[in-house]
Symmetry: C2
Subunit: 359 residues, 2 copies
Amino acid sequence: MSAPLRVDLGDRSYDIHIGTGLIDRASLFDRHVRGRTAAIVTNETVAPLFAPRLESTLAAAGARVLRIVLPDGEAHKTWTTLDRVFEQLLLAQADRRTVLVALGGGVVGDITGFAAATYQRGIAHVQVPTTLLAQVDSSVGGKTAINHPLGKNMIGAFHQPLMVVADMDTLATLAPREYAAGLAEVAKYGAIHDIEFLSWIEKNADALLAREPAALEKAVRRSCEIKALIVARDERESGARALLNFGHTFGHAIESAAGYGTILHGEAVAIGMALAARFSARQGRIPEADAHRLASLLARLGLPVAPPRFPPGVWLEYMGRDKKNEAGRITLILLDALGTGAVVKDAPLPEIEAFLAAG
Amino acid sequence: MSAPLRVDLGDRSYDIHIGTGLIDRASLFDRHVRGRTAAIVTNETVAPLFAPRLESTLAAAGARVLRIVLPDGEAHKTWTTLDRVFEQLLLAQADRRTVLVALGGGVVGDITGFAAATYQRGIAHVQVPTTLLAQVDSSVGGKTAINHPLGKNMIGAFHQPLMVVADMDTLATLAPREYAAGLAEVAKYGAIHDIEFLSWIEKNADALLAREPAALEKAVRRSCEIKALIVARDERESGARALLNFGHTFGHAIESAAGYGTILHGEAVAIGMALAARFSARQGRIPEADAHRLASLLARLGLPVAPPRFPPGVWLEYMGRDKKNEAGRITLILLDALGTGAVVKDAPLPEIEAFLAAG
């Protein structure tokens, strides 16, 4: 294990540990859980794979260990599921010194983080992401949320973890589609911030698809570095952090209109990035060839890039609910170059509409 | 209107405005709501009394105004009610610049504050408390919450308002029992922090019961000053802030065991304060006469002081769920003198049990 990555947020700073065999390492957890209740929050799929190991580790680190198992899937990122966490904690008389340990993908991480943000007005939590997507995205940056029937991630909080433990071992069991969805976010960091990293991904696409540990660790580390850098600049998402939403405005509209759970978040983001790159080209911000280059990479990583055929009204209706919008204007993340994202606060609605209608 | 009271919390500092005719003063609201959506969150009882006036004021201050009306009562301080706020905001496409304006008592304030803490991961809010209890207690300090079937205020967040507007005009319509419940918290500030204020309350009990504006304004101002002082020392309730819970550990147990809504919060706190003072005397911390003096004042203010007859197991079961407890020990706020509260972190359970059994 190499040195942890530091996310620099003043008194809310924390470390991201990246490596193999980490969920068995009691010394990592010791200072956060000794003498406390540690409640593992996980789902039905992940629990049999990793919960027993993590329980042993936490017990060895001196914690009283609880296990809370949630149903699997984005469709369960709801109040009902969150309330199950609260109920289990209250039944176990878990006090304010309790530490929640999120063991799972983005949904588990988001629910657990929001539970930690709001249980007894805020307790501590640790993220142990077990999907590539969660390792490079949702476990870093302190965004937590549940979905509302009227919009994705509409109810939530900013709440930083005590630490993140990204164990490459947990990625071996991921379904290929889930894994590819994580690679979409990896490619995103290259596209918005680091053309050299994007080129590295292109050169190492086969190694990444084969899940070679060295390539994986490098991809996760560089992704987290870029995310940590952007989050440290703008913890509460007032400016630069919006860059991280490259592909997400279109992507969220696709997820919402399709109904949660029918398309993976990373897949929707891949389509969204391909669209945003094409629209950037249409606006004269980047050459058409660069938009093609990004779409080709995404396709090679096993991701969809062709948009679904919604009427433009549907696109705009769902895009209009995006949290980054202010006073009815649409904020869109575009590219000024491959490797350089741009936050466009007042994107031209008629042109977006025409672009989407043309398909 | 005299100068506002400042609650000093660094970049989360805010003003409490105390006076008469304040909800008609557009200039107070202007800088917080101009060019934004202002959503008044209120209840069925308060809406017809004050919502139209506040709506005019907010419109004059340049806001797009929404009104969200909730059912009245502690029994509705639930997820279901909170979700109604979210739903209305989402249907109105309220964005992150929206300001929620809590118009009502403690329940409206707590729900609105928590809605603001979690809608789109956090938006701004203003508190316009319309009960004495809310003016001197729940609108100051940033605590927000909803109840869980397994415990009161168990789900919540710390979220400071942009400002608090305590308008004495709104107290004229309060039912006598509600009004007395507020006086319980006023007396609490004297008991834990300021013997001179306690004496002032004793001398001015008739004026307070008659709701004379000058006496009221002084009582609200001094109460808020004391609360603001204590909150500024300890925003996240790690130490000194626990003092504010004088009477609340017993009080919460009374509320929970009796079922929410059958006894008012302030009434339960009055009984809890009388008990805590008597227990302080039993422990040799204060003379018995001082415990009598506090109980007499509370009774004179129209408050109950005699505890319900629960079996001791019931007391301890409900006290065991208090958020201030750590690792099974009971934290209790006692008196070292009238005017001086003490946070007792490891209160002697067997003695508490014997004391409560003796009744």
